[in-house]
């Protein structure tokens, strides 16, 4: 709200959190290494799981930030993921081809992105309500068309990347994953580059910060918003496909479990940059990985519900601690009327 002008930086990641943030990161890194030397197998399992758990979060966060950089708030990521997961699952069941199934999930996300753009640009609906419509519609459609007992035809398997996978610690974590996880890491760097180093990125940010100025230099604001929101939808759809085709292998009702909303916190924590969000997503992934590994870790004495709360509590803490200190794109949430 105030006139602290940090943003449109040319350089990507700027952890302009104060010194204390950097010290925390270094300490965390040291702790992670110490843990690895004490309990190599266990630590590797937790870290590998961290990366996998972060995949849908960073994809959702990328979807959110591309939208918001153009000025469209997307609260419907949860619904895009859920319906994407469902369609990808159905495609896998009825067509049997995993590649087509992933594409089906991506296309579903894109369609819902287009729907969001239509609601917020053409129908001039409140964007938060528009996103809520998507969430509720996804819940309704998936529960109506859900048939119990459908089984998938296989799921995406990890592909070890030759000798890279044998590197201790890093090998099993980064180079022994299934396709969508690899693709996601590539996408993070791709969008980091695209957003800050290409004409598309410059235009996107211009439209999100100052639409009328962008308009005067000939950028078609609403076309740009339509395009980007649809493109961003693809990423949420991919996150959905990840859940059914790579992580779980089947569909369960409401299986996104709030990941779409956590992704928004990830985006804010990452200051609307892909690389920053990736860091945040890894932190959240770690919180969730602890949950899946807690029996290993000898934490059984804590009731599992409290472990289950952890990622959500973390989301709130992160939001409370960071939202005031980072600045969202200036024109987000506002209808742009060319007249």
């Amino acid at each position: 709200m105030t006139t602290t002008t940090a943003p449109i930086t040319k350089k990507g990641v700027r952890l302009d959190a104060p010194l204390f943030g950097r010290i925390a990161i270094v300490l965390l890194g040291i702790a992670a290494l110490v843990y690895y030397f004490l309990q190599p197998q266990q630590a590797t399992a937790v870290y590998a799981s961290t990366l996998r758990q972060s995949t849908p979060l960073i994809l959702g966060a990328l979807c959110g930030l591309i939208g918001e950089r153009t000025g469209i708030i997307n609260i419907g990521i949860e619904g895009q993921m859920l319906l994407g997961a469902f369609v990808a699952f159905l495609a896998n069941v009825y067509i049997g081809n995993l590649f087509i199934a992933v594409l089906a999930g991506v296309a579903t996300g894109a369609l819902l992105g287009l729907f969001l753009a239509w609601m917020s640009i053409t129908l001039k609906m409140d964007q938060i309500i528009g996103g809520t419509v998507i969430n509720i519609m996804a819940l309704g459609l998936t529960s109506f068309f859900y048939v119990a007992g459908l089984t998938t035809k296989g799921k995406l398997q990890p592909i070890p990347l030759g000798p890279l996978a044998d590197i201790p610690l890093f090998g099993p974590i980064f180079f022994n994953n299934a396709p969508i996880t690899y693709l996601t890491i590539i996408l993070v760097f791709f969008f980091q580059f695209a957003l800050f180093r290409t004409v598309w990125g410059l235009r996107t940010r211009a439209v999100g910060e100052h639409p009328s100025a962008a308009d005067t230099v000939g950028i078609r604001v609403n076309t740009m918003r339509y395009m980007n929101t649809t493109l961003a939808g693809c990423l949420s759809g991919l996150a959905g496909a990840y859940l059914t085709l790579e992580a779980v292998g089947s569909f369960e009702r409401g299986m996104t479990n709030g990941r779409g909303f956590v992704a928004l916190a990830v985006m804010i924590f990452g200051k609307w940059t892909p690389l920053g969000s990736w860091g945040a997503a890894l932190l959240f992934g770690f919180a969730t990985a602890l949950q899946t590994q807690f029996q290993f870790l000898g934490l059984d004495f804590i009731p599992h519900q409290f472990i289950g709360m952890f990622p959500y509590v973390l989301t709130i803490v992160v939001l409370a601690g960071f939202v005031g200190r980072s600045r969202p794109p200036a024109a987000e949430g506002k209808v742009y009327d060319p007249e």
Binding site: M309, V313, L319
Partner: protein
């Protein structure tokens, strides 16, 4: 967007019927459109939409018991609709009705089974208010976070939902667990039960009273005025000397109070105990209801009855017409879409009036 001041004309000077038509035409038409698309969906999936809707109607209104069931289903919906509508007036989006309801439900159940030796006239209200206050506190967390840190309530309330699900699950499985295998609290004592009069559940009467109270609060008190001013333009409200931060916390608290009461009524009047998973989706229905009612607390009552009737008739429809009752979730989502995309409906109806009750929320993530 935030410059309409005509919302204050609540004095009944204009004729009542045109006013109702003006307020109700878009929601009504939205419901018809949604039902129509729902019928198409049913037809495409191989069922006869007429039989389906007819048995839905039978199941919802066909007999005194059916009407009782509809009112019973509508009761928590009135509360969750009120909770969302009330927060909307201050420009806040409380998506956390679900969590507040759960917390209210379990605390009410706890007070209902653990406190012994009180007469009905004290025990029942105590449990009811205890549950409501618990809901208020739960929602106030989100309000305080918004005021003091700027964390947006849309995300914090959703996160609080998941935390509430885990917390209540823990309580119903652990310290407050009934004997036996099922994860639920013991049955509440008779002195805490909210009774049913004939076929009208008393809980519904409480809900209607709360709707009237909420209306009064919003439109007839200075507090309500401060809330509505904050909702229209928080900056202006600040300059007018309204303590916006405090208004945000209090509004969230009262919103949570309403949702918590919904959970309490469910525990004390319908289930007779707390049982996890009894009210999935009620929080989201609250959004649909609030927008269908155009955020007017009195409009929440018919909107909730409509959705309650759909819930009540759903199982009959599934039984008679072989239609999966989940179609109702789809229809609800469509209602929400058409109500909020009122531009479409207005075009079809050919009305040119500007909507002065339009809800505006997306002002970014900052405080």
């Amino acid at each position: 967007m935030a410059t309409e001041e005509s919302t204050e004309t609540t004095g009944g000077r204009t004729a009542i019927l045109p006013r109702i038509w003006k307020a109700g035409s878009v929601p009504l038409f939205s419901v018809f459109l949604a039902a129509f698309i729902g019928a198409m969906l049913l037809w495409l999936s191989g069922s006869n939409p007429f039989t389906a809707y007819w048995s839905l109607l039978q199941g919802a209104l066909g007999s005194p018991e059916a009407i009782g069931r509809t009112l019973e289903k509508a009761t928590p919906l009135v509360f969750s609709g009120l909770a969302v509508a009330f927060a909307f007036k201050a420009g806040l989006f409380n998506i956390g009705g679900q969590g507040q309801l759960l917390i209210g439900g379990i605390v009410a159940a706890y007070l209902g089974f653990a406190v012994d030796g009180l007469p009905f006239l004290i025990h029942m209200p105590l449990a009811l208010l205890g549950g409501s206050l618990a809901g208020a506190l739960w929602a106030a967390i989100a309000g305080a976070l918004k005021t003091y840190t700027g964390a947006h309530e849309v995300i914090t309330t959703i996160m609080l939902n998941y935390i509430a699900i885990n917390l209540t699950d823990f309580l119903a499985n652990g310290p407050w667990k009934d004997t036996g295998i099922i994860a639920r609290t013991p049955k509440i004592l008779d002195t805490a039960v909210i009774p049913t009069w004939g076929f009208i559940p008393l809980g519904f009467v409480v809900a209607v009273l709360m709707a009237i109270l909420t209306y009064y609060l919003l439109f007839k008190t200075t507090w309500g005025y401060a809330i509505r001013t904050t909702g229209l333009n928080a900056e202006a409200a600040k300059y007018a000397g309204i303590k916006v931060g405090r208004i945000i916390i209090l509004t969230m608290a009262f919103s949570g109070f309403l949702a918590g009461m919904g959970g309490a009524v469910e525990s004390l009047g319908v289930i007779g105990r707390y049982q996890p998973g009894f009210n999935v989706g009620l929080g989201f229905d609250g959004i649909t209801i609030a927008l269908l009612a155009k955020t007017n607390p009195l409009g929440v009552i018919p909107a909730a009855i409509l959705l309650g009737a759909m819930d009540a008739g759903g199982s009959q429809m599934q039984f008679d017409a072989g239609v999966r009752f989940q179609i109702i979730d789809v229809i609800k989502a469509l209602i929400l879409f058409f109500v909020s995309a009122d531009i479409i409906v207005r075009k079809i109806l050919g009305s040119r009036a500007v909507d002065e009750d339009k809800v505006t929320l997306s002002t970014g993530w900052g405080g």
